[in-house]
Each structure stands twice: as C-alpha cells, then as structure tokens.
C-alpha cells in the first residue's frame, strides 16, 4: 500500500537517466572556472546518481510486484546501427541494480576522498565521472556491442588517472594496466564476434542471444575467449599481474574505483555474457575455472602475507577475494551464483573503504610501509578503528558484509558434491586463516604498539574523509547485518540464469 503513489512515477522510470546524469555532470564540470565549484558539482552529481539508484531499487520492487518475473525491467531499445544488428538496448535486473548501487556508493566515496587533489583538479574529476559513466553503462547494457563500448570507455580514464596523478612507478603501471585490460578486451571482442556470426541469427542483442541455442562447438571456443577476456578484468590467474602495480600506483580514488568497481566489471561480464549465454561452455569449463580461481585465492592470500606495503597488501588481497567470485561462478549452483554477486558487492565496498583508509594514513604519515608505522590508534583513533573494521570485514567477521558473501559462496560450493569442487571449497575455506594472519598482523602493527615521535602530531579524519568512510561503512554494515533485501534482489536474477544453465 505504501507504494501506491509510485505507480504513476514508475511509468517515468527511464534507465537512460543513469547515463545522462554522469554525462551531464562530466560535461558541466569542464565548463566551470572555479575549482571549488568543480568539486561540489562532482559531489552533487554522484549523490544525485546514488539517490536515483535507491529510487530505482524501489521502482524495481514495484514493477516486480506489478508484472512478476521478467528477464529485464525498464527496458529501452533504440536502433543504433540497424544494418549490423546493433541497438541501444538497456535494462535492469536484480544483479544490475545491486552493482549500480555499489558503483554509486563507491563513486561518492571516491569523489569525497579526492577533495584535496590540487593538480589539474577539473580533469581529475572529469575522468573519475567518465569512469563511473562507463561502469553504469556496462551494468545497464543489454546489447553486446554497447557493453563492449562501455567497457572500453573506462580504459583511458584509468590510464590517465594512474599515469598523471599516481605515485610510485606510475607510468609503467599505467601502461601495464592499459595493455593488459585491452588484451582482455581483444579476447572479448573475438568472443562477441564469434557469437555474432555463428549463433545462428546475426545480432548483438543479449535478449535475442539468450533465446537462441548456440551450437556446442561455437560455445566451446567462444566461452573460453569471453571468460578469459572478462577474467583479465577480475584478476583471473594467470592474468592478474596488472593488479598489484595498477592498484598501488593509482591515486586513492583511482584505487578505490579500480578495485571496487573495475574488477567487478569482469565478474559481471563473466556472469551475464559468458555463463549465461553459453551454458554448455560454462559446464564444460567449470573445472578449469574452479582450479584457476582456487589458485588465485590461495596464491593471492599467501602473496599478501609477504607484502610490506599497505597498498600492495590490499591489491593482492583483492586478487584473493575476487577469486571467490570466480569460484562461485565455477560451482554452477544457485546459491554459489548468488554468493558470487554478493561477494562482488561486499568486496567492492570493503576494498574501497580499505583503500580510502590507506589513503588517509598515507597522506599523514607519507609512508605505506607497514613496519614504519605503529601506534596510530593513539593519534588517529577514528581512522584506526576504521582500519580494524575493514580488516575484520576482509577476514569475514560475522556482522559485516564479508561474512555474508563468503558464507553464501561456501554453502553454494558445498552443494556441488563432485570431488574437485569439494577439494577446492576446503582449500578456499582454509585461505580464510591465511587472510586472518595477514590482516591481523598488518593492522596490529599499524594501529597498536609504540608510537613513533614523528607521528605525534597527526590529525584525525577530516570532514570529507569522514563522509567517504560513512558512506562505505553504511553499505558494509547494512549488508552485514540485514542482507535479506539484497539476497531477495539478486536471487530471482540468478535463478533465471541457473534455469538457462540447467536446461538441457
């Protein structure tokens, strides 16, 4: 009954708004002279986008109540290149909405954390908003060409963000990132073209492809191409080498976005394009996927233990956590798929917060080296507590989002009772211990212990840092304490995907 008045507003729900708002923000930014106004506009734009996402969530519930189960809601389709079968086809389902909520929160936090960027501020915020536009478009697209378009739109902003505003070996890292991500895109392109020409009916449309039965031989070739291509974005072993340098050399907001959202582009792509459209391929290649993702989880965890630099620690830890996503995708059960999406959302929020806190610490201590820090709890209590919270989330403490996601993945993985998946599940569970080791050791060294003299005069968090942390922490806590609404959001979509996979 509370949604009655919304029934009329639902007719106005135009998902293209999610593309117009960031685009308008970005273009408007370029015209403003006053730098402070630039920051405010960027913040306002991202906050508006977040409210739109929340609004979309309620509209989605309404629409679901109205028309029941459907593949996609609020679809829009316009002809783009009709002779090639390319159309501007957008729409949302539960998974898209979850990812868009994640993106909007991370972007707000990123904009806030970059408040004090002095060098070429306007271009920085322009590139950041452009990056978010690429992410939103990617999650909305229902046409493979459009999906690829938005995936590629994001590459150059990342390159410029790392190369211009980064630290350390930034030019090398930026190059490595751009080239490896393009390599992934190249493989995705070949997979998409394979689907276009060989799926029976030439077209790039996902709804059309989902209805066709792609021949098995085609699936056997296109699935690895697509999965590996998207896997490069999600740090599939052995294509993960861009992650440590890329994340560590990036500016804080860049790292937050890269680890928080960009790696999820790959996971979403694997789910929506590779597993969904090519179910026979997903089943045929489930075992290699499980093996590679388990290696990523364990190798990532052990490599993290060796890291002395906080950012590198978080980067390798991201490899490990994103391995969980792909592990869930390889298990081929409904719960595992739901868990994979949950892990995408949870890890996105968590790693963004982690990078934000690291950014705060680095700005004050001018070092990311763990052994050089200590006793920060005395001078920066708020930031230190945040570090502890995010560390707990990373190792899966109940009450925070990490536990929800990992628990779901493990439950789903256990349901698959073949030998290899069982062994993989056990190994992955054991990696949690390794996670605990490195988190507790790193966080403990940084936060507790004797305080060095040079750090006596450090200030605690400033207003924009508090804002960024609040936004992300809100997401983590809501997801950790009351994940029901999120699971209810994701489940119907994964149910549909599982139906297609279990069909023949």
């Amino acid at each position: 009954m509370a949604f009655h008045p919304c029934r009329y507003i639902v007719l106005l729900m135009n998902v293209s708004l999610f593309l117009w708002v960031p685009l308008a923000t970005a273009l408007f930014l370029l015209l403003i002279r006053n730098i402070q106004l630039v920051r405010v506009v960027a913040l306002v734009g991202s906050v508006i986008q977040a409210f739109l996402c929340i609004f979309l969530y309620f509209m989605y519930l309404n629409e679901r109540a109205r028309i029941g189960d459907a593949f996609m809601y609020f679809e829009q389709q316009f002809n783009w290149f009709p002779s090639l079968g390319i159309s501007y086809h957008v729409g949302v389902d539960g998974i898209s909405i979850a990812m868009m909520l994640l993106t909007s929160f991370v972007v707000i936090a990123g904009v806030l954390m970059s408040w004090r960027v002095e060098k070429m501020t306007r271009e920085f915020f322009f590139l950041l908003i452009l990056l978010s536009l690429g992410a939103y478009g990617f999650f909305l697209s229902l046409d493979l060409f459009l999906l690829f378009f938005f995936l590629e739109v994001a590459v150059i902003p990342k390159y410029l963000l790392i190369g211009i505003w980064g630290s350390g070996n930034r030019k090398h890292s930026a190059n490595k990132l751009a080239l490896m991500l393009m390599m992934g895109s190249a493989l995705i392109l070949v997979g998409i073209l394979g689907l276009y020409f060989l799926s029976g009916k030439p077209g790039f449309d996902i709804t059309q492809l989902k209805a066709t039965d792609v021949p098995e031989k085609v699936q056997q070739v296109c699935f690895p191409l697509l999965f590996i291509g998207f896997g490069v974005f999600t740090a599939l072993f052995p294509f993960h080498t861009w992650v440590p340098d890329g994340h560590s050399s990036a500016p804080t907001a860049g790292s937050m976005f890269l680890a928080g959202i960009s790696m999820k582009l790959g996971g979403y792509g694997c789910l929506r394009v590779a597993c969904f459209l090519l179910p026979l391929g997903a089943k045929a290649f489930a075992e290699p996927i499980i093996i590679l993702s388990t290696i990523a989880i364990i190798y990532g965890a052990f490599a993290t233990m060796m890291q002395k630099d906080l950012k590198y620690l978080n980067a390798y830890s991201s490899i490990s956590h994103c391995g969980f996503v792909l592990l869930g995708l390889g298990m081929l059960t409904q719960t595992a798929y739901t868990g994979a999406v949950l892990q995408m959302v949870s890890h996105g929020l968590m790693t963004a917060l982690f990078f934000a806190v690291i950014g705060m610490i680095y700005e004050r201590t001018h070092t990311r080296n763990i052994s050089e820090m200590g006793g920060l709890l005395k001078v920066m209590p708020m930031a230190s507590v945040l570090l502890i919270i995010v560390g707990m989330c990373s190792l899966g403490l109940p009450g925070l989002s990490g536990f929800v996601a990992e628990m779901t993945i493990f439950t789903g993985a256990w349901q698959n009772n073949a030998i290899l998946p069982r062994v993989a599940t056990v190994l992955a569970c054991m990696s949690i211990v390794v996670t605990a080791v490195y988190i507790l050791r790193a966080v403990g060294t940084v936060v507790m212990g004797p305080l060095k003299d040079k750090y006596q005069s450090l200030r605690d968090m400033v207003w924009y840092e508090k804002g960024a942390a609040f936004v992300l922490l809100l997401g983590i806590l809501i997801m950790g304490v009351a994940p029901g609404w999120l699971v209810a959001l994701i489940k119907p979509a994964t149910q549909l995907i599982m139906q297609k996979i279990q069909q023949p």
Binding site: S83, F149, E152, A186, G194, Y196, L225
Partner: protein, 466 residues
Amino acid sequence: MSLEYLILLKAELQICLLIFFLLLLKITRTIPNEKLLPLIQLLLLANFVGGCFYNQSGDLFDGMFVSNKLIHLQKHILSLAVYLISLLFSGWFRRCLHLTEFFVLMLSALLGMYFLLSSGNLLIFYLSLELATIPIAAMANFELTRKRSAEAAMKLISSAAFSSGILLFGISLIYGTTGSIRFPEIPLLLDGSALQVMAFVFLVTAFAFKLSIVPFHLWTADVYEGSPAAVTAFLSVVSKGVIAFAFLTFLYKVFQPFNSIWYHILMLLSILTIVAGNLFALRQQNMKRFLAFSSIAQVGFIVVAMMGKSVESITAITYFVLIYVFSNLAAFGVMEIVAQHTGNENRNALKGLYKSNPLLSWVLALAMFSLAGIPPTAGFFGKLILITAGASTASYGFIIFVALNLVVSLYYYLLVVKNIFMDDAIEPLEKIPISGSAKLGLVVCAAGILLVGIFSWIYDYIAEQV
C-alpha cells in the same frame, strides 16, 4: 554536350574551374599569401558544399566514366579532406613561396583521383592513376632548400614509376587474355588461366604499393619524413583513401571471379602489414615517420575488412576512411604546429605539452585515441566495424591475431599521450600561437572524431548508397 553530361561531370568540372581560376589569378596579379590563403580555403569550402547538390548517376563516353551515389560520397569525403588540409596547415602555407602552384598541383592530383574513382575501363584507370601520382611527387619537393625533400620526391617518383610499369604490364596481359578493357565486361571474360592470375597479381602489386602494404611499403617512411607536412597529410589520407576505394571496386566488381585467390593474398598481406606497421611504429621518434608507420598499420586493418562480403566491406571501408580523415589530419595538424614552433620534429617536442597548450593536447590525444580505437571516439566504431566486416569469412585464429594487434598499436599511441600529459617538458614550452583557420580545422576534426561514431546515421547513410 547536353546539360546532363555536364552535371554528371560536375565534381570534376568544379575542380577544373578551380585550377583555371587559380592559374589565371597567378598570371594576372600578385596576391600576398595572407590574402590568397583565405580565398583558396573559401573556394575549397565551396567545392565541398557544391558536392552536396545535383549528384546524378550514369555513364559517360561509352562506359569510360561511371558515376553513382557511392562514388559521389567517396569524392565528397576526399574534398572534405582537402579542405581540412588547407585549414590545418595554414602556418606552413603562409610561409610557402609558391602557394598557387602548390594548390594547382594538389587539385590536379585530386582531379586524377576523382577520375580514378569514376573510371570504367582500364585505360582511364591507368591515366587517372598517373594524374593522381605525379603532381604529388612535385609537391613532395616543395621545400626547395631541404635535401630531405628532394630525396623524398626522388624516391616517390621512381618507385611510383616502377609500380606504374608493373601495373601497365598487368593491364596489357588482362587485355591480351580477355580482349576487353571495360570493367563490366572483364569479369565475364575471366577464365582463371595462369596468365590472368599473374596479371591480377601485378595489378594487386600496384595497389599494394600505393597503399603502402608490406612488403611494398619501403618508400613510405622516407617520403613521409622528407615531404612537407601538408603533402604527407595529403598522401597519407587522401591518396590512401582513394586507392582503398579503387581497390574495392577492383576486387568486388572487376575481379569478382578471383575471389578465392585474392582472399588468401589479402590475408597474408594484412598479417604482414599489421605486424610490420606495429613493430616499426614502436621504435619511431620522428613524428612523421611514426605517423607513417601507424598509417601502414591502419591500412593493414583496411585490408582485413576487404576480405569480407562486398556490401559490408565497402560500407565499412568508406566509413573508416571518413573517420581516418578526421583522426589522421588532426594528428598531422597538431604535430606540424608543434614542430614548426619548436623546430623539432621529434616526439620529445611534445613532452609537457598539456601545461601550456590544452587545446592542442586534447586534440592530439583525441586523435591518438581514435587511431587506437578507443571509445567514444569514432575510431572505435571504425575499427570494430572493419573487423566485423572482415570476420564474416575469417577463422578464429586470424581474428584473435588482429584483435591482439589492436593492443600493440594502443601501446605506441599511448606513448604519445604519455609524452603530452605525463612527461615534463625538456625546455619550457610557451603557448603556441595558432592561426584562426588552423584552430577551425582542429575543432572540425575533433568534432568529427567525437561525433561521427556515436551518430550512427552516417553509417546507415553510407550503407544505403552501396
């Protein structure tokens, strides 16, 4: 000659009028370059606009001259390119000693290219190809005091002459074995004998030379480096564009029965071209040589598209040439402005450009992104549509190879972007003064790069004409 004939020849007559007008102007009065250049730009703009109206299809002179909608569109793209060249290189043009002669030569080459596009038999084809090449050799030598220019011109004319000789041999063999020189009749008379295949290979060789396909590309880098930038731009954009169009007509209309033969030839040539273009471009420090090898790699992608089915390939290549006009001219324009100002043609001159010259930096960055194939620039759509057209008949391995080469090409385009945005200047660069017409040219190119891709009605418009 009735009015109908004149209208069919409209584009060519416009160019002839321009040439005669410029010659008369030169003979009767002396006008300083500052006044002459805007006049020429205006005339070229009028030529471009005039190409929009009264386009008719038909045959002339018993099939020697052919005109249809697609040919009109292709000529239109070339006239746009020439107009943009006159805008972008105004700095050099103002200092040029023999401005009228330069444009007379350029317009003569353009006239030859128009006839090349409209040719209906092998004789007029050869004649117009010669008319399209020889003036460029004279233009290449236009910086009379530089030794490099003379070297470039010599290399161009001697290798062009040699390839013309081979082309003539091929043409004579075709005539000898089929008994006809007319394009509509030749495919009906081909019987696949060894002599005909050899003649076909000679003809492909001539095209490959003009298009700088590996291994016939050895003239490209030195000629591009030695010629003045306006000539390099003309060579790389207009000349390549017209030869690509002519090659298409050749493959899909005249030598259609040899489809299975030229498919494999093209596959081999495209692999060689893309690899050689990419590998050599990685090492280049001189900006013009860098753009030379990058255009070789682009041509490799065009050859990939030629392997597909006729309708999609022709549409894809015409669309790509339009986008290539904008991207490449923007790149040449900015690089020439920087090189003229700093006196340094090396890529190092671009370091730290962003701090003092944001407009130039963004235009060059956009051009690089477009050449690399990054959305939302038009180059992304162009490259993708090229690969889609070529992929319809190709194998997985070949397409994976082509796609991975996109990554390699991205690397060297990003080197330029890195120089502009991330490196610090060797000597402090002040703001470079750009003339109004150059600015207009840069803005038009940038607008073209940004808009031609997303506004897809251009692609559909081209598809309709085919």
